[in-house]
């Protein structure tokens, strides 16, 4: 059942929302991923270190508390510096404070170097489908 791909997941910044994090872990494992869950309250460095240690294929960043914009800045650059040149970076959750136009929010995160960004309430199954496509896993 293992698909041979490793994904680092976690909740970035000073954010302690753990429920979705546990469910994402559950869902990814069900789909055959090797999941490295660094949990909540995780700085960028922890994501990157975990990805290097486990030779990960992708990093899925969650942010539920509205500070995502501050917390995610420079993430792609740090990955590049650490040698994670083409690693897939997703981000999703309640990324900004308040109800803002999603298209604009998405653009800000794509401009930061994330491959994909997901609005609040996205079914994790959708993101996993995208991830399989981006990693070249056959359905």
């Amino acid at each position: 059942m293992q698909n041979g791909k490793t994904v680092v997941i976690g909740v970035i910044g000073a954010d302690c929302h753990a429920v979705g994090n546990k469910i994402i872990e559950h869902a990814l494992k069900e789909e055959g991923f090797n999941v490295v869950n660094i949990g909540v309250l995780s700085p960028q460095e922890d994501f990157i270190n975990a990805a290097i240690e486990t030779n990960a294929d992708a990093i899925l960043v969650s942010s539920l508390y509205g500070h995502g914009e501050i917390d995610c800045r420079g993430f792609r650059e740090k990955c590049n510096e650490a040698g994670l040149k083409d690693i897939i970076l997703y981000v999703g959750g309640n990324l900004v404070v308040g109800k803002q136009d999603w298209k604009e929010v998405e653009k800000r995160f794509l401009d930061m170097g994330f491959n994909r960004a997901y609005p609040p309430g996205t079914d994790i199954k959708l993101s996993i489908k995208d991830l399989k496509k981006d990693l070249g896993i056959e359905e």
């Binding site: 000073a14 753990a18 559950h26 949990g39 509205g66 308040g98 309430g121």
Partner: protein, 485 residues
């Protein structure tokens, strides 16, 4: 110094206090005597404890929103809007997440970025960075009692600042502001730090100033069985009372089944009063009911349905106050208009239901008895593990998985129990972990879940919990398999 559930001595407190006030430059602005003088001038209608007493004695349920932004003027505008347009009864200041982690440098960045961006880049009000001067500006700008609401494992400096600023209530506790809010803070540490916060309130109390304290009832807000949250609430209540807290509000987060929710509030009051009496504490007890804390529907009309049903349950349970959600809940921090809308829907429901209570019935009585019996199993073991000391027992109970909060981020939480809804939507234990229930209680929980499993034609499993977590966001209470929707 060894952890124990014992009132901090004068020396213990004031020695610690010197360090606390040095944690950030604004600490220097706190002067206990001057603060006491300031607090003594708080008029009755702005005193949390007074307003709660009035509500309890008159059978009224009060409505309180959550709200906080990065800049003082914007925060004042927000609170005044919720007061004047939203018709709130009590005001909050929700503290931002950096402050909760004591990362005040990052708060400074957030404040500066917010000024530049013209919108709040923080998810709350960074009270420590503004210090007494800024917090008093907020207090003086509003006409209702003001409370700090946060999620801070070490809230000592924050508590010093907000109380000195006329904020007459503080939410939190050594368990409830650690296990659901932190990854690696030892329980022993957060209990100590909240003993300090409670003692501070006790010291003010001894100076004739009655401040309100409110442990955070809903914990992770996600399928927490009532007996687990009630056990934590009673522990935090007892720990606070030992430090001299006299005006206490214990909380509970809506699960969604009316009988269970009403039973949980009634069981909480009855059992907490029993324990206060048993341990000789004289506490004025009120309750807070949190509207649904889990996933919300995106559709705003549907969100109003969830909000109103929570309000109705709070009224029927006779809770002293209700914490209000907003129609923007599914998408993040609400606009002030959406926040006011949530309060208004809530208040309308509360007012229609004023004086109405769920009457006694066989079902309600049975549910109250079950919750109390489960809670007692847990608390007995906690006291046993601590050799009679509740603080020590709590630390050991988390180590042993006797206290265990579902879906909590803390590594000091065992994470062994799994909850799921029964066929009527009441939250039950699916996996018991190390919770020390009697065989009878375990069998009963299991039987209720087997009934659901049979109805749904699938085995009792973790998938039920996952389905339940997303159910309300999808418009239903119980997460049925896809072919049954």
């Amino acid at each position: 110094m060894e952890l124990r559930n014992k009132k901090l001595t004068h020396d213990e407190f004031f020695k610690q206090r010197e360090e606390v006030l040095r944690q950030w430059p604004t600490g220097a602005g706190v002067n206990l005597e001057e603060a006491a003088e300031y607090l003594k001038k708080v008029p009755e209608h702005k005193q949390f404890s007074k307003k709660l007493r009035y509500a309890k004695e008159n059978g009224i349920t009060l409505a309180q929103p959550r709200a906080g932004v990065a800049l003082v003027e914007e925060h004042i505008n927000l609170l005044r809007y919720l007061q004047n347009e939203g018709e709130a009864d009590l005001l909050p200041s929700t503290i931002d997440s950096y402050t909760r982690q004591n990362r005040y440098n990052e708060c400074e960045v957030g404040i500066e970025e917010s000024k530049k961006a013209g919108r709040s880049m923080l998810n709350g009000f960074p009270a420590v960075n503004y210090g007494v001067e800024g917090c008093r500006r907020v207090y003086e700008a509003v006409d209702l009692p003001l409370q700090a609401r946060h999620g801070t494992p070490d809230a000592r400096l924050l508590s010093e600042i907000i109380h000195a600023s006329g904020w007459t209530s503080n939410e939190g506790g050594g368990i409830s502001y650690n296990i659901p809010y932190a990854k690696s803070v030892p329980v022993e540490k957060s209990i100590r730090d909240w003993q300090y916060c409670d003692r501070l309130v006790g010291i003010y109390q001894e100076m004739g100033i009655e401040l309100n304290r409110e442990p955070f009832g809903p914990l992770t807000g996600t399928l927490v069985p009532p007996s687990m949250s009630n056990a934590v609430a009673i522990i935090e209540g007892l720990l606070a009372a030992e430090q001299g807290v006299k005006n206490l509000t214990l909380g509970y987060g809506q699960c969604g089944n009316l009988i269970q929710d009403v039973a949980a509030i009634r069981a909480l009051v009855e059992q907490a009063e029993e324990y206060f009496k048993m341990y000789g504490y004289d506490v004025y007890l009120t309750t807070v009911f949190h509207q649904w804390m889990g996933g919300f529907p995106h559709d705003e009309s549907k969100a109003f349905g969830v909000i109103s049903w929570g309000s109705a349950t709070a009224a029927l349970a006779g809770a002293t106050k209700v914490i209000v959600k907003t129609p923007h809940e599914a998408v993040g921090i609400p606009t002030k208009e959406a926040n006011a809308a949530g309060i208004k829907a809530t208040k309308q429901t509360l007012n229609l239901l004023r004086g109405q209570r769920l009457p006694e019935s066989k079902e309600l009585k049975a549910e109250i008895e079950l919750i109390k019996a489960e809670t007692k199993c847990i608390l007995d073991k906690v006291f046993e593990l601590g050799n009679g000391d509740l603080a020590v027992g709590t630390v050991k109970a988390f180590e042993a998985g006797v206290l265990d909060i579902p879906f909590a981020p803390s590594k000091y939480n065992a994470g062994q129990i799994i909850p799921a809804r029964d066929n009527n939507g009441a939250v039950r234990y699916l996996e018991f972990g190390n919770i020390p229930f009697t065989k009878e209680i375990k069998d009963y929980n299991r039987q209720l879940l087997e009934e659901r499993a049979k109805y749904e034609g699938r085995p009792v499993s973790f998938q039920m919990a996952v389905d339940d977590i997303f159910a309300v966001g999808k418009g239903v209470l119980v997460g049925r398999p896809e072919n049954m929707r």
